[in-house]
């Protein structure tokens, strides 16, 4: 669940937040924390009633087949597009910074080969894989962030200057972008199959602290490095910030390569988790879930869509689309969560 937080540090959330840094980004962040927490609390509360069952299992015996189809299909689209956006964004970063001469499709196919393999594994294995990646990467990322916070080039006055715009009214874009950081909890619709116990309230405090720290890090570190007035000029504020850090005594002086290497696996996992959920949901809509032919068709559809995405969407368009997507996701997330919560209260387990 924290993978959503980690992966969003770099690509689109900071870009959106920094764009509106004088126009209510801070209030948006502050507002997103109670919203994000409340939504995740409601959703996990709803699902904790049915330990060991995912959303498709719950709806399996539903009488309203059409309604169920609509529900699942809308969520699938959301999840698939979430993964797709991360994938496209990171492919763009990779082709820019690692090997600009290689065509994007080559990088994409390497990614897709791995992704298609993993998303078809059972949920338990995906979870294990996720944990391994997190355990391997989290310490190094923490180290980089620590180095950034202690860097002499982090100008606290710039950060405070943005901080003085706290009383601006928040706008929809920033709130939607900031709540996305918290929305990792929604993966519970599939991963609930693995959770036999109830989610403890202690976990929410952890989520609160991490989310707060994460949002302020993702927003303020680029501003501290590149100034209150100049940060929004960068296409990828975080990649540039990683490039602005100098580790004198490390084998590679430039942090950017270390950073990209870490994020290669993290973004891979993020896409995998999203697409795994989407795939499982689609499986849930089939009458016979064991039908391999159909599953394969779905995976091929995923591949085709992402190839089309790489071919037709450039990075400027992608950023514009993402902002709309954030808002769309924000709205539908609220609707889905509230409805599910009400529904689970009525239904006895």
């Amino acid at each position: 669940m924290f993978i959503n937080m980690l992966v969003n540090v770099i690509i689109f959330v900071p870009k959106t937040l920094i764009e509106y840094r004088y126009d209510g980004a801070i209030m948006g962040i502050l507002l997103s924390i109670p919203i994000g927490l409340l939504l995740s609390f409601l959703y996990s509360k709803a699902f904790s009633k049915f330990p060991g069952q995912g959303l498709p299992d719950l709806l399996a015996d539903s009488k309203h087949h059409r309604l169920k189809l609509l529900h699942l299909a809308s969520i699938q689209v959301l999840w698939f597009s979430a993964g797709l956006i991360t994938l496209l964004g990171f492919i763009d970063i990779l082709s820019r910074f690692i090997n600009p001469e290689a065509p994007k499709l080559v990088i994409l196919s390497i990614y897709l080969a791995a992704i298609c393999l993993i998303i078809q594994l059972p949920t338990k294995k995906v979870m294990d894989f996720l944990e391994i990646v997190l355990v391997l990467n989290a310490p190094l990322i923490t180290f980089i962030i620590f180095k950034m916070f202690t860097s002499n080039y982090l100008n606290w006055d710039s950060i405070l200057e943005v901080g003085t715009h706290i009383f601006e009214w928040p706008n929809l874009q920033t709130t939607a972008a900031a709540t996305y950081v918290f929305s990792g909890y929604t993966n519970i619709i599939i991963f609930n199959r693995l959770f036999k116990e109830k989610v403890k309230s202690r976990n929410f405090i952890v989520v609160l602290v991490l989310g707060l720290f994460n949002l302020f890090t993702t927003f303020f570190i680029p501003i501290g490095f590149h100034g209150a007035d100049g940060t929004q000029e960068y296409l990828y504020p975080w990649i540039t910030t990683a490039d602005s850090l100098r580790l004198v005594f490390s084998p590679i002086e430039r942090v950017i390569f270390l950073f990209l290497m870490l994020y290669m696996s993290i973004s891979l996992m993020s896409v995998v988790v999203h697409w795994h959920v989407a795939l499982e949901l689609i499986k849930g809509t089939f009458k016979d879930a064991k039908n391999k032919k159909k599953n394969r068709m779905v995976v091929i559809l995923f591949v085709v869509m992402s190839v089309a995405g790489v071919l037709f969407i450039n990075s400027t368009l992608l950023i514009k689309l993402t902002v709309f997507w954030f808002i769309f996701r924000f709205g539908s997330e609220i609707i889905v969560v509230v409805l599910t919560f009400l529904w689970s209260r009525r239904r006895t387990a």
Partner: protein, 366 residues
């Protein structure tokens, strides 16, 4: 499991094919020229505006000191120059190791068009941690210097600018990303170190202060040292105290300068600067007496705060703000028109400097 195996086999097959395909994107290292430093000058009486020089490292052959070539091209833009330079050499030019950018002295003394520094930040392959400097008499002359003690091309510059080799208080190095920030940030202006090229040695002990367009003020070595105390990267130097023909020097161990802006109603606004300096006496032209240390401290405090104030006023008169008083003001005020207020306040603001000097001991001699 069977299908899993088959899938992983297909996956392996695809990725192995891709690995070979991906190889086409890379150019081998022997087909590349690595740029180590870039110089930007004004073109001398030609139809073109700028003279761009790239210093290319020639890979060392066993046991020979490494060599370099400098390729220059006059052009109206950096992009154009680089494209033409590519036609002059046989290998692909790689900017991945370009760590020093030198602007000629003439170019910074007039209004600099922003594309001159935006080009570097826009390129993805130029490190944001490249050092930006001013070259005197011009950038090309700095690139041409080849100190005898240098092992790799431009390595002497890398070491001194990075502060890994010699550590000196007279040098304020500046990274590319930081310079770009300061060109944009209202209330914080760029400082670039000036490299003077002598026959086969560099002298880096002065800095140029910029407003948002051009160099406004050049600080001498002593002023550079004082300004350096304001930054966190500041290294230690020595402070000279002269009073009644008695002179002694304090080797600075630690220095910490804080400042706070006071804008009280009805009073002229002032900036209170407090400087804490700890050090030991290194040299004196009179017999030093241990029980008079506190009087030495007083004298040092007096001189140090006077020097600091002189520097601050000089910077203020040039209407530049390298320390970031303006940004501090903006950071502490919630009004929308912070910046307009500050541009009104800054020219007439007063500085109140309070230095506190602590002499720990007098070295090994009492």
């Amino acid at each position: 499991l069977k299908s899993l195996l088959r899938w992983s086999f297909i996956g392996l097959l695809i990725s192995s094919i891709l690995v070979f395909l991906g190889g086409c994107g890379f150019k081998d290292i022997e087909k590349r020229f690595f740029v180590v430093s870039i110089g930007v000058d004004l073109a001398e009486d030609g139809p073109k505006k700028y003279l761009i020089s790239l210093k290319l490292a020639i890979p060392a052959v066993n046991d020979k000191p490494s060599e370099f070539i400098i390729v220059s091209q006059e052009a109206d833009t950096i992009t154009e120059a680089v494209r033409i330079i590519k036609t002059k050499v046989d290998k692909e030019i790689d900017f991945g190791h370009a760590k020093v950018i030198v602007f000629g002295n003439d170019i910074v003394n007039q209004n600099m068009p922003p594309n001159l520094y935006y080009w570097f930040t826009r390129r993805r392959d130029i490190q944001k941690i490249a050092w930006v400097t001013i070259g005197k008499p011009n950038a090309l002359a700095v690139l041409k210097v080849k100190p005898k003690f240098e092992e790799h091309p431009s390595n002497a510059l890398f070491l001194s600018l990075g502060g890994e080799g010699s550590e000196t208080a007279y040098l304020m190095s500046e990274f590319l990303f930081d310079m770009k920030k300061k060109f944009k940030e209202k209330g914080l202006d760029p400082i670039l170190p000036i490299i003077e090229a002598k026959k086969d040695i560099f002298i880096i002990n002065t800095v140029g202060l910029f407003n948002k367009k051009r160099m406004k003020l050049r600080l001498g070595p002593e002023e550079t040292k004082l300004l350096n105390y304001f930054t966190k990267n500041g290294r230690k130097g020595a402070v000279q105290v002269t009073q009644d023909k008695k002179t002694f020097l304090i080797d600075v161990q630690k220095v910490k300068i804080k400042y706070k802006i006071y804008t009280l109603k009805g009073k002229t606004p002032f900036i209170k600067v407090t400087a804490d300096l700890t050090g030991r006496i290194e040299e004196a032209n009179f017999p030093v007496e241990n029980d008079r240390i506190s009087s030495y401290e007083r004298a040092a405090e007096h001189i140090f705060s006077k020097e600091l104030k002189k520097l601050l006023v000089k910077i203020q008169k040039a209407d530049v703000d390298p320390i970031g008083f303006g940004l501090r003001y903006r950071a502490h005020h919630f009004n929308k028109d912070d910046w307009e207020n500050w541009t009104r306040i800054y020219p007439e603001i007063d500085f109140k400097v309070q230095a506190k000097v602590q002499i720990e001991d007098t070295g090994l001699i009492e």
